[in-house]
């Protein structure tokens, strides 16, 4: 029974992937760009969910790693003059390193305290990037980052984003399904019991944080590829909350939930503004409705409907 369901989900994802490959030939440039943006935000949200949904860690300032990844790549290319491919490596590695440092400081705490300390530290990083204008361009940000011709165009950046995101998602899936992933979920559900069983809770959480930071950095790099810019706003706490909302909206207890949440948010944001200048209001109302009535997010709700058929582990919580 379980094996059949695995196959069913696998085919669904495969079909979706093929469709995404074909889309650029059917859609106008704008929608290609929009999809690429969804991949970027979605990857950031997915990386957050690694520690939030699967790890139960209150990662309140995830955007720092996303922004550092972007700045790492952008600065390597513009200020240090290296080839973009080196920039693509520097970004995530820098983000992972920062995650290691911040994680080591914060991981002693739990829940709300972890979140608040992370916000303070993250804001400190933001302040440095923001004020060091001679190096980082300050609040003007960095623009016109040059890309290799292959991935510079709208279609090119789309395919690059699609392939990189797909690879990252597959890696994340294997991580989640691995013993490491299961231990992480165990820690989330009952840290005391896990410790009693012999699991090094802090170390596990730290490793998870570094992995999440790395993937967030990748998302940041993809942003630079798609938009050729980096902005200090990418490290600000409001973006962290937005990424959190994407996880929640889509379903933080499912695997692909955050990606769906990102798609909804980006789509809403783009299309709502053609209508009204009060789209924050609409965003707030929809968010409130989802929290009240769909606490497991859209995908969580869909999965619950197929409860009899679905794979138990795809819900993340027994």
């Amino acid at each position: 029974m379980t094996k059949n369901i695995h196959e069913k989900e696998f085919w669904l994802v495969l079909i979706l992937f093929v469709l995404l490959l074909i889309f650029p030939f059917l859609l106008t440039r704008f929608y290609i760009y929009l999809l690429a943006l969804i991949f970027v935000s979605g990857l950031a949200a997915m990386s957050l969910n690694l520690v939030l949904g699967y790890g139960g860690i209150y990662q309140f300032h995830h955007a720092v790693f996303y922004g550092v990844g972007a700045y790492g790549a952008a600065l390597t290319i513009t200020k240090l003059g290296h080839s973009p491919w080196i920039g693509f490596l520097v970004g995530p590695l820098l983000a992972a390193f920062l995650s290691l440092v911040m994680g080591a400081i914060c991981v002693r705490l739990s829940k709300l305290y972890f979140g608040m300390l992370q916000i303070s530290l993250g804001s400190l990083v933001w302040a440095i990037v923001y004020r060091w204008y001679s190096f980082t361009g300050g609040d003007d940000g960095i623009h016109g980052v040059s890309m290799p011709a292959l991935i510079g165009s709208t279609k090119g950046s789309y395919y690059f984003a699609l392939l990189v995101t797909g690879a990252c998602l597959m890696t994340m899936y294997f991580i989640v399904k691995s013993p490491f992933g299961s231990t992480l979920q165990g820690i989330r559900d009952n840290p005391v019991r896990s410790e009693a069983v012999g699991v090094n809770v802090r170390l596990h959480q730290l490793v998870a944080l570094v992995i999440a930071g790395f993937f967030a950095g990748v998302a940041g790099v993809l942003f630079v590829v798609v938009d050729n810019s980096a902005f200090p706003d990418m490290l600000f706490w409001t973006l962290s909350l937005e990424i959190l909302i994407m996880c929640l909206l889509g379903g933080w207890l499912t695997f692909l939930g955050p990606m769906l949440g990102a798609a909804i948010m980006v789509a809403l944001r783009t299309f709502a503004s053609t209508f009204t200048e009060y789209w924050t209001l609409i965003q707030g109302i929809i968010l409130m409705l989802v929290i009240i009535f769909l606490p497991e997010g859209v995908l969580g709700y869909v999965n619950a409907k197929f409860r009899q058929l679905g794979d138990v582990t795809s819900r993340g919580k027994a």
Partner: protein, 449 residues
């Protein structure tokens, strides 16, 4: 028991012989209750959940469908600006000034014969959203001209995009000097003054004054530092004897300046250059009034004499504050200015602030540019509009060809209370002509290397 539902508390009293862990004792009643269906969500909940999902879906599809506009034969202008947060105090004026110009053009039948239509997008002062919206306007709505924004980071990012897409972009409020300076190019135009220009204009007048010992303070972001640098570098050039005693920088959005003011006063400078922006302008002036700063040590702020800074404070604004501004609705008292103010007041029921001038002039430029070009061709439009001379409420203005910067006159004055207005205005006004304070074409060329 169907009266119970999820969320209710049920107390179970004594279920039978207990085993050691009590597990059986807990599982049996749970099983019984669930079998009765108490754990299923109620009908109401189920409906609400389905409702939320379908509702969101419907809203999304509706937005998607409605956003397909079928362009008529018009000149389309896409405006990206911040209509959320403190910057809104300035940007609504830009939009209203632009609308006024456009309505006049369309009433006359358009230019040339084509009406101007515009779309607005709120970037919420976030450059990534601003850039995404610029892309949406160009790639989906196929606008002919881009316009906006008050956020310099957005302006620079959109400028880069405009260059790639070869679409003209008029910057209406962002003050970074990189826009027409080192990152300038054929497709970007700046209507508003930039920090370098403002600084040089201020230095032009300050050099004539007797102050020697200066203190520099301001909002700790790009704009603040740029204005301060602009003033100080030029002042040092014009009057080498000036000394800088020190600097103070506070976070953007700071509300309590008293500690900074007292610290500065302790150092005893002759004059303070205060580089605040946006809402910091009013906050600083309020603190200055409360501490009586202007009467102890005079200070200068760019836009200190402007209506957006002075009007909210009413008669409580501090007197004796030096400032520069590009538009004052009461000066010069020419017929063009009076007519403009009259029309603006009639349409919008308030006095026009600086943004109104920027928006209005942009509208005029777009109209005249396309009229001269003869057709809706972007390259022809750019060729037509650069170097163009237009009439405006502040006199004849030239859109300089070498850097696409509008050559605005700058007004330098001191705040003063007068009887005819419920707010302070500028007095002892000196007009500084654009050619006297703008960087020359050679300097711009050198920057763009």
């Amino acid at each position: 028991m169907p009266y119970s539902k999820i969320g209710d508390d049920i107390i179970v009293r004594y279920e039978g012989p207990l085993d050691s862990s009590g597990m059986v004792g807990r599982l049996r009643p749970t099983g019984l209750l669930c079998g009765m269906g108490v754990d299923k969500e109620s009908l109401m909940e189920a409906i609400m959940k389905k409702g939320v999902i379908t509702g969101t879906g419907v809203v999304l599809v509706w937005f998607l469908a409605a956003s397909f506009s079928f362009g008529a034969d018009t000149i389309k202008v896409g405006i990206i600006d911040t209509y959320t947060g403190p910057a809104t105090a300035y940007t609504f004026d830009v939009l209203d000034g632009f609308k006024m110009a456009v309505n006049k053009v369309n009433a006359r039948g358009g230019a040339p014969g084509k009406k101007i239509e515009f779309l607005t997008r709120d970037e919420k002062f976030k450059p990534d959203i601003g850039l995404a919206m610029a892309k949406e306007l160009v790639l989906k709505e196929n606008v002919d001209v881009l316009m906006g924004t008050i956020n310099s980071a957005t302006a620079l990012a959109v400028s880069d995009f405009a260059r790639k897409e070869r679409i003209p972009f008029f910057v209406t409020f962002s003050k970074s000097d990189k826009i027409t300076g080192e990152q300038g190019h054929r497709y970007v135009f700046q209507i508003t003054e930039n920090t370098l220009m403002a600084g040089r204009a201020a230095a032009f007048e300050l050099a004539k004054k007797p102050f020697v010992k200066y203190w520099i303070a301001g909002d700790d972001y790009e704009y603040g530092h740029a204005i301060a640098d602009g003033v100080w570098t030029q002042l040092k050039k014009l009057k080498p004897g000036v000394q800088k005693l020190g600097e103070s920088w506070w976070k953007v959005g700071e509300t309590d300046f008293t500690p900074y003011i007292t610290a500065i006063l302790a150092a005893k400078p002759d004059f303070i250059i205060v580089a605040t922006g946006g809402s910091g302008m009013v906050n600083f002036q309020k603190a200055a009034k409360a501490t009586g700063l202007a009467q102890k040590v005079p200070f200068y702020q760019h836009t200190a004499i402007e209506l957006s800074t002075l009007e909210p404070q009413g008669l409580d604004a501090p007197e004796g504050v030096y400032g520069t501004a590009n538009y004052l609705f009461y000066y010069p008292d020419t017929s063009e200015n009076k007519a403009f103010v009259e029309e603006f007041r009639k349409t919008y029921n308030r006095y026009p602030k600086i943004g109104a001038l920027y928006g209005y002039v942009t509208g005029v430029l777009i109209e005249k540019g396309f009229a001269k070009a003869g057709k809706v061709d972007k390259e022809k439009f750019i060729n037509a509009v650069q170097g163009m001379l237009i009439d405006s409420p502040v006199g004849k203005l030239e859109l300089r060809a070498c850097d696409h910067q509008l050559m605005l006159p700058m007004f330098f004055g001191v705040t003063k209370k007068v009887s005819q207005y419920p707010f302070l205005i500028a007095s002892d006004i000196v007009i500084i002509l654009a050619k006297d304070y703008m960087p020359t074409c050679e300097e711009i060329k050198a920057l763009r290397k």
